[in-house]
Amino acid sequence: MDIDIRSENGAAIAHLRGEIDHHTAKDLRSQLDKFIINMQPELLAIDFADITFMDSSGIGLIMGRCKLMKECGGILEVRNPQPYIRRVMKLSGIERIVKVI
């Protein structure tokens, strides 16, 4: 699992690569939270283009970051999930809470 976060003018993009499950979500959660708390971005977009697998652990990860972003006065977006990963998102109803583009 790999994460690359770039920030410019209050907006940040976190590009994730690899598989999201309960095991890998722990490290992702910690890295994303550290960034959100330290940088307080107005917008954090998580780019899922290079995520090759995600189970419901990914839903917990998104919901938790969405909550933290709201607490910090910002917005979370999810970008470019593969069709298969979008199915897991649709099943969870997360698109009612987070913008998925």
Partner: protein
């Protein structure tokens, strides 16, 4: 239903083995030539069941998880995931969407919902103090034949 092929695999309940279990099941069922979507569905359901065993069955303690995968006649895949963990007191309640006993770990409570949606059949048998057995079946499509 005739068993055409079968593999069994036992692993410790380490979270890193969630990926191991997915890889093991994928490598076995590839012989049945599933579609990309079917393979994804099965991998996700297995990941959910193994994660449940690790997070809820063993709750941070280490135990064994047994995985059995069968290829049955009629292009049906049978998967059994067994743990000897704490068991589920109320299976019906545990299977309700969004029900979780681990919100602090950001468990979404969707594990059984994903298994039910992505597989054709799901059976959960559990005894408190003895463990849980999750059985799933999925019939693969006949494509390109």
């Amino acid at each position: 239903m005739e068993v055409l092929n079968e593999v069994k695999f036992t692993m410790p309940s380490l979270s890193v083995n969630e990926g191991t279990a997915r890889a093991f099941v994928s490598s076995f069922i590839v012989q049945a030539d599933p579609t990309v979507e079917e393979l994804s569905d099965i991998r996700t359901a297995v990941s959910e069941a193994v994660t449940n065993a690790i997070v809820h069955g063993y709750r941070g303690t280490e135990g064994k998880i047994e995985l059995t995968v069968r290829l049955l006649s009629g292009r049906e895949i049978y998967i059994r995931i067994k743990d000897s963990g704490c068991g589920i007191p109320d299976v019906k309640q545990a299977m309700e969407p969004l029900y979780t006993t681990s919100p602090e770990e950001e468990r979404s409570g969707l594990g059984f919902s994903v298994m039910e949606s992505f597989m054709d059949k799901l059976t959960v048998r559990s005894r408190v103090g003895r463990g849980t057995v999750v059985t799933m079946r999925k019939r693969l499509s006949v494509h390109g034949r």
